[in-house]
C-alpha cells in the first residue's frame, strides 16, 4: 500500500507540471526564421486565425494533411487565415528535401524540444492548433484528425460558407 503511494508521488514528481496546451489557453509566442530565412512570429499574426501545425517529414498522416493546409493558405489568406508549419524533424536537411519534392504555400520553421515544451509538449504527431486573433487556442487536433472536420471549423471561424452552401449560392 505504502509502496503504491510512494510510486504515485514519484510518478507525479517526474511528470512535472507541464501539460498539453488546451482550448482557452493563450498560446505562447513563437519567433523563428523559416527555412527560407524569413522571420516568423506567431504574435505578429494577431487579428488573424492561425493554424499552427506541428509535423515532420517522417510522419505519414502529417504528410497527408500538408496539401490541404497549403490549399487553405492560398484560398483563405485573404479571409484572414495564416498557416504556420513547425517541423519536429531532427534535421532541417530532411525537411528541405521533403519540401523540395512537396512544396507548400505557408512558412515552415524548425521546432525542437524546447519550443515543443513551451506549447505544453508535442509528444505525438500530427498536432495542430487553431489560434484566434487574440492568441487564444480555440481548437486542438491531435493524431489523425478528420480534415473535413478541421476544414468545417476553419470555414466557420473565417465566416466562409460551407461547401454545399457555396454551390447553392452560385
Amino acid at each position: 500500500m505504502m509502496r503504491k503511494g510512494l510510486f504515485a508521488v514519484v510518478a507525479t514528481l517526474l511528470c512535472g507540471v507541464a501539460s498539453a496546451m488546451k482550448v482557452g489557453d493563450v498560446a505562447p509566442d513563437l519567433e523563428r526564421a523559416d527555412l527560407s530565412g524569413r522571420q516568423v512570429q506567431l504574435a505578429g499574426h494577431r487579428g488573424k486565425l492561425v493554424l499552427l501545425n506541428f509535423w515532420a517529414s517522417w510522419c505519414e498522416p502529417c504528410r497527408e494533411e500538408m496539401p490541404a493546409f497549403s490549399r487553405w493558405q492560398t484560398t483563405w489568406q485573404a479571409n484572414g487565415l495564416q498557416v504556420i508549419g513547425v517541423s519536429m524533424d531532427d534535421s532541417s536537411d530532411d525537411v528541405r528535401a521533403f519540401l523540395a519534392a512537396h512544396p507548400v504555400t505557408f512558412p515552415v520553421v524548425m521546432g525542437d524540444a524546447q519550443l515543443a515544451k513551451s506549447f505544453g509538449g508535442v509528444l505525438g504527431l500530427p498536432l495542430s492548433y487553431l489560434i484566434d486573433g487574440q492568441g487564444r487556442v480555440i481548437a486542438r487536433y491531435q493524431g489523425e484528425a478528420s480534415l473535413k472536420t478541421m476544414e468545417a471549423k476553419v470555414r466557420e471561424l473565417l465566416s466562409v460558407p460551407a461547401r454545399g452552401a457555396e454551390k447553392r449560392s452560385r
Binding site: R3, F7, V10, A11, T12, L14, C15, G16, A18, A20, A56, S57, W58, C59, E60, P61, C62, R63, M88, D89, D90, D94, A97, F98, A100, A101, G111, D112, A113, A116, K117, G121, V122, L123, G124, L125, P126, Q142, G143, E144
Partner: protein, 160 residues
C-alpha cells in the same frame, strides 16, 4: 573541352543529384508497418508501467527508437535514446548500443511518434535486433502517441 560542354556536364550532374535526393527522400518515407512485429512480442504500456515498479525494469534495457526531439521532451525513466529506426544512421546507433550485450538480454523498444499503424521506426528497429540475434525483445505498443498513451495516463515520465 569547351566551356559550354563543361557547363552542360555540371548542369546534368546537378539535375542527377537533385533527382537522387528526391528519390532517397521518398524511399525513406516508405517504412515497414509496426503491425509486422509478432503479436507475442508486444507489450502494453500498463504492463511496462507495472514492470517499472519491480526489478524487471532494472534488468531490461529500455530504448526509445523514435525521434530525438520527442525523447528530449519526455521519456520513460531509465530509457535511452537509440534511433530513429527509420534511418540507417539511427539503426546504427541502435546496433552500437546493443553490440556488447548477450543475445538473451531483455530489451524493450518503444516510440510513440505517431499512431501505431503509421509508426516508421518500430518495425525497422525490431527487425534490426532480430537480425543481430537477440531473443528477448519486447515492443511497447502505443496506439496513438507517447503523450496520449503514456504521459497522459500518469505513468512515470522523465522530463529532461
Amino acid at each position: 573541352m569547351t566551356r559550354a560542354r563543361i557547363l552542360g556536364r555540371r548542369i546534368l550532374a546537378s539535375v542527377f543529384s537533385i533527382c537522387l535526393l528526391l528519390v532517397t527522400a521518398d524511399a525513406a518515407l516508405a517504412a515497414k508497418p509496426a503491425a509486422s512485429i509478432p503479436a507475442d512480442k508486444l507489450i502494453q504500456p500498463a504492463e511496462v508501467a507495472a514492470m517499472l515498479k519491480n526489478d524487471a525494469a532494472a534488468r531490461t534495457l529500455i530504448l526509445q527508437v523514435g525521434f530525438k526531439s520527442m525523447f528530449d521532451q519526455a521519456h520513460i525513466p531509465g530509457s535511452e535514446y537509440a534511433g530513429p529506426g527509420n534511418t540507417g544512421a539511427g539503426l546504427q546507433v541502435l546496433r552500437d548500443r546493443v553490440a556488447t550485450l548477450a543475445k538473451e538480454s531483455p530489451i524493450l523498444i518503444y516510440c510513440g511518434c505517431c499512431p501505431w499503424s503509421r509508426c516508421p521506426n518500430m518495425a525497422a528497429a525490431y527487425d534490426a535486433l532480430v537480425e543481430l540475434g537477440f531473443t528477448n525483445i519486447r515492443a511497447m505498443i502505443i496506439n496513438d502517441n507517447f503523450g496520449t498513451d503514456w504521459v497522459d495516463k500518469g505513468y512515470p515520465t522523465t522530463r529532461p
